[in-house]
């Protein structure tokens, strides 16, 4: 199947759903669920996954308060001719930046300028500005906000809405990420820091690919990231620098290891398609009809249920399926690790209890390892057989 053919099939799968742009967070999320065809196909088809999840009965979304806070903080960083941003860049990156000339490539700005803001336009504008910035064009701006870059994910081009920024200095593109989780007493939350840096890595990888395509050396994208966070309980910005070259390398390997979306899609039943999202005025019946159609399509895509899925909007849906299939992963990845290849709870328990004889090495190991626990548990279930002193 050719790429255009895949594109066509993906459009059919998308069916009545609107197409969205992906962002670094979503792509990082897919790579957190390695091997999940379901996520990979839904992302390739640019399905708005949160709205699909809501339709399927797993409400999800972002808090409006978190969004507002993020916007307010970002505004603070960019206010007054970007005074705070420049100060942080000078302090943490040793760039003697004095003034920054920015261009904003967000939907709103482009619509104002051109009357439209589709993905192709945003990508084209981003490329145009990147070229100018990197070729030292005096008319080039210094800073790109809300650029749109592309990234090949499983053989399909993903359009990436970046919430990171790039500014050019000394011929290099440096990435800045502004997040609104706090650094209290100088220690930002470690899991959130990791997530922010992974998203930055996605953005850097796609930026490197874009400029390579434009004929520039990808090493002109620096792997040093400046992460800007609120300090303590105020909105005063604080900066943290990290070189994420290893993260970018890891990301590229994981991207390279993804199966071709073409192949995943080819394995699906023909004619799968998602319905349109029910409108606000839809009746109960219409909603239920849409839900059934969506469930049928999603369930036809193979899933890989793991602990990492908790961050995916479809978590409950896939979990319920896994439970119905009696998969061992319902008890969690750490527990499932102990069960090896033996796939269902019933099988593991029957091996552990000696009700069934093992036939493969995995079953033998499971029978031994979990069987020991079962024997100990059985002994302790009967109070009379607990450790005792004879004659007591």
């Amino acid at each position: 199947m050719t790429t255009t053919g895949t594109g066509g099939v993906l459009a059919v799968i998308r069916g009545g759903m609107p197409a969205g742009a992906l962002d670094a967070r979503r792509i990082a999320g897919t790579l957190d669920q390695p091997g999940c065809a379901r996520r990979q196909i839904l992302d390739a088809a640019a399905i708005p996954i949160e709205r699909l999840a809501t339709l399927l009965g797993c409400p999800s979304g972002q808090s409006p308060f978190a969004i507002i806070r993020g916007n307010v903080f970002e505004q603070r960083v960019f206010d007054n001719g970007m005074a705070e941003l420049i100060a942080l860049v000078r302090e943490h990156l040793d760039h003697d930046l004095t003034a920054v000339d920015q261009v904003d490539l967000s939907c709103d700005q482009l619509t104002e300028a051109y009357g439209r803001a589709d993905n192709n336009l945003r990508v084209a504008e981003t490329r145009r500005h990147l070229s100018a910035m990197l070729s030292g064009d005096p008319s080039g701006r210094h800073l790109l906000r809300h650029p749109m870059t592309t990234l090949d994910v499983g053989g399909v081009t993903a359009y990436l809405e970046a919430d990171a920024f790039s500014f050019v200095h000394g011929g290099q593109l440096t990435t800045v990420e502004v997040k609104s989780f706090a650094a209290i007493d100088g220690v930002p939350d470690p899991p959130k820091s990791a997530a922010a840096l992974t998203q930055a890595a996605v953005y850097i990888a796609s930026l490197q690919d874009t400029i390579t395509d434009l004929g520039f050396d990808p090493s002109r994208v620096s792997t040093r990231v400046l992460l800007i966070l609120p300090r303590d309980f105020s909105l005063t910005p604080a900066g943290f620098v990290r070189d994420i070259a290893p993260t970018v390398r890891r990301l590229r390997r994981r991207l390279a290891a993804l199966p071709a979306t073409t192949a995943l899609v080819a394995a699906l039943p023909v004619g799968l398609s998602l319905p349109a999202l029910p409108s606000k005025q839809a009746t109960e019946d219409e909603r239920e009809h849409a839900r059934r159609a969506a469930a049928g399509t999603v369930s036809a895509m193979p899933r890989r249920f793991r602990d990492g899925c908790i961050s995916c909007p479809l978590f409950r849906y896939c979990r319920t399926e896994a439970r119905a299939a009696d998969e061992v992963t319902v008890i969690g990845s750490v527990g499932a690790e102990l069960c090896g290849d033996v796939g269902t709870v019933a099988e593991v328990l029957s091996l552990a209890r000696g009700a069934r004889q093992p036939t493969t090495p995995a079953e033998t190991a499971v029978a031994m390892h979990v069987g020991r626990a079962a024997a100990v548990a059985a002994r302790h279930a009967d109070p009379t057989s607990r450790p005792s002193l004879s004659g007591a």
Partner: protein, 443 residues
């Protein structure tokens, strides 16, 4: 033997030792650091420094190790010389008879060891010796030492010579690490990193050569686990394993032949996911050990020819329960040969640190897993397992490691206030796998 450009390994090593000694003797630096790759003759450096110090007639020199075993090993190497060696120890410690016989002084108090030129003890014991102040001290295994262990002893010493291997396992805690991480001078940092932070202009030198690892291993270990490269002290061909030809074509024989030929073997079982006490891997390891013992292997090195027996082999694992199963299986084979149980060392990476053997069989930490975790990916663990041997290392694993690595999301928490680790465990694993696959033997 091929000739090498530049000074010979022995000369290069001696040059660093001389320079370190001169700086230490000159007393201009409060901190002198030495990077020591595995088997780099760190103990010979410490021995040389101690001997020269004592011969110079200087005041007593304390040596701080991290474990009792390390202290004992060092004392063995330092004893039987013209200077007096003392061993400070805790009340529960039993002095080794040979060391007593060799004239080493043992005491629970510093005062009783006043007449000694050198005093050796683990850090915990130095921490409990309240009295005493010394002008200078040697700290061994400074990358294994936790920053808070250094905190507890440092005020006794005016200046230090710190020696350690940056590729080894990092310190950890069973307590709540969130209390202390992410800030400068965290107690969980290595003592080495703390010294670098507080004394940024202190001189650090690298011992350039590993005397333990053969050339086949030195390049691989250096590339995968170290940012400062080192090379083997022996030349190609100086170390050899001679296996009498084996008639039966079994995987164990093929593995042994590959190990003898190249210094590495990667024994790969069919891919499967199963608990870490994988009985088939246990059997393969026990079979390998038995094959090696029964094959009449002889090892040639700079000193001559020695037969390889149970005492020359060790097995390295990642988990304690793996150790139990492997020991049981190996002991069965030993019993069948009339050899006593426990003749072959089987231990976890933690406890193998600092030890060396002619051959090492390593159970790959990622074997049989569906998903890699930070524990299993840790570079230090793999580095320890793969740098214990003088002749050959045989790695045993189920297939499928590459898939695990490719799929690993890598979302370990990041402490932005800390330096990122020098070596990324995930990349180290990948580099290692690339090289090991050249020596694959199907089980």
């Amino acid at each position: 033997m091929t000739s090498r450009p530049g000074p010979s390994p022995a000369d290069a090593h001696a040059a660093v030792v001389d320079e370190v000694w001169e700086r230490f003797a000159a007393a201009d630096d409060r901190v002198i650091g030495v990077y020591s790759p595995p088997g780099a003759g760190k103990s010979s450096l410490v021995r040389t420094v101690a001997a020269r110090w004592a011969t110079d007639g200087r005041p007593q020199l304390p040596i701080v190790t991290q474990t009792n075993n390390q202290a004992d090993d060092l004392v063995s190497q330092l004893s039987g010389t013209t200077y007096r060696v003392g061993r400070l120890h805790a009340s529960t410690y039993k002095p080794r008879a040979q060391q007593v016989a060799a004239g080493v002084a043992f005491s629970e108090t510093v005062a009783a060891l006043q007449g000694c030129d050198i005093v050796v003890a683990p850090a915990r014991k130095w921490a409990y010796s309240i009295q005493g102040a010394w002008e200078a001290a040697v700290i061994d295994e400074v990358y294994q030492m936790r920053s808070d262990d250094l905190l507890r002893v440092a005020d006794r010493f005016g200046r230090v010579l710190a020696v350690g291997d940056p590729g080894q396992l990092s310190p950890f805690t069973i307590g709540d690490e969130r209390l202390v991480r992410g800030r400068p001078l965290s107690p969980l940092a290595t003592a080495a990193d703390t010294l670098r932070l507080t004394h940024p202009s202190a001189p650090w030198r690298a011992l350039p050569v590993s005397w333990r690892l053969p050339p086949s291993a030195a390049t691989l270990v250096s590339d995968a686990f170290y940012i400062r490269p080192f090379q083997a002290g022996t030349a190609e061909g100086e170390r050899q394993l001679h296996c009498p030809p084996r008639s039966i074509d079994r995987a164990a024989n093929r593995a042994l032949a590959e190990a003898a030929r190249t210094g590495w073997a990667f024994v790969e079982l069919t891919e499967a996911h199963l608990p870490r006490t994988d009985p088939e891997v246990v059997e393969v390891i026990a079979d390998l050990v038995d094959t090696i013992i029964g094959a009449g292997v002889r090892a040639t090195d700079e000193q001559g020819v020695t037969p390889i027996g149970p005492g020359s082999i060790a097995v390295g694992v990642a988990h304690r329960d793996q150790r139990g199963h492997v020991t049981t299986a190996i002991d069965r084979g030993l019993a069948a040969r009339g050899l006593p149980p426990g003749s072959v060392v089987v231990d976890t990476a933690n406890r193998l640190q600092g030890r060396q053997f002619e051959l090492l069989i390593a159970w790959h930490p990622l074997s049989g897993r569906r998903d890699a975790t930070a524990f299993h990916l840790e570079a230090g663990r793999l580095c320890v397992l793969l740098s214990r041997h003088r002749h050959a290392c045989l790695v045993v694993s189920r297939a499928g490691i590459r898939d695990q690595l490719d799929a690993h999301p890598g979302v370990e928490p990041v402490w932005l206030g800390e330096e990122p680790p020098a070596v990324d465990g995930w990349e180290a694993n990948l580099t290692l796998l690339d090289r090991l696959e050249e020596h694959r033997v199907a089980a």
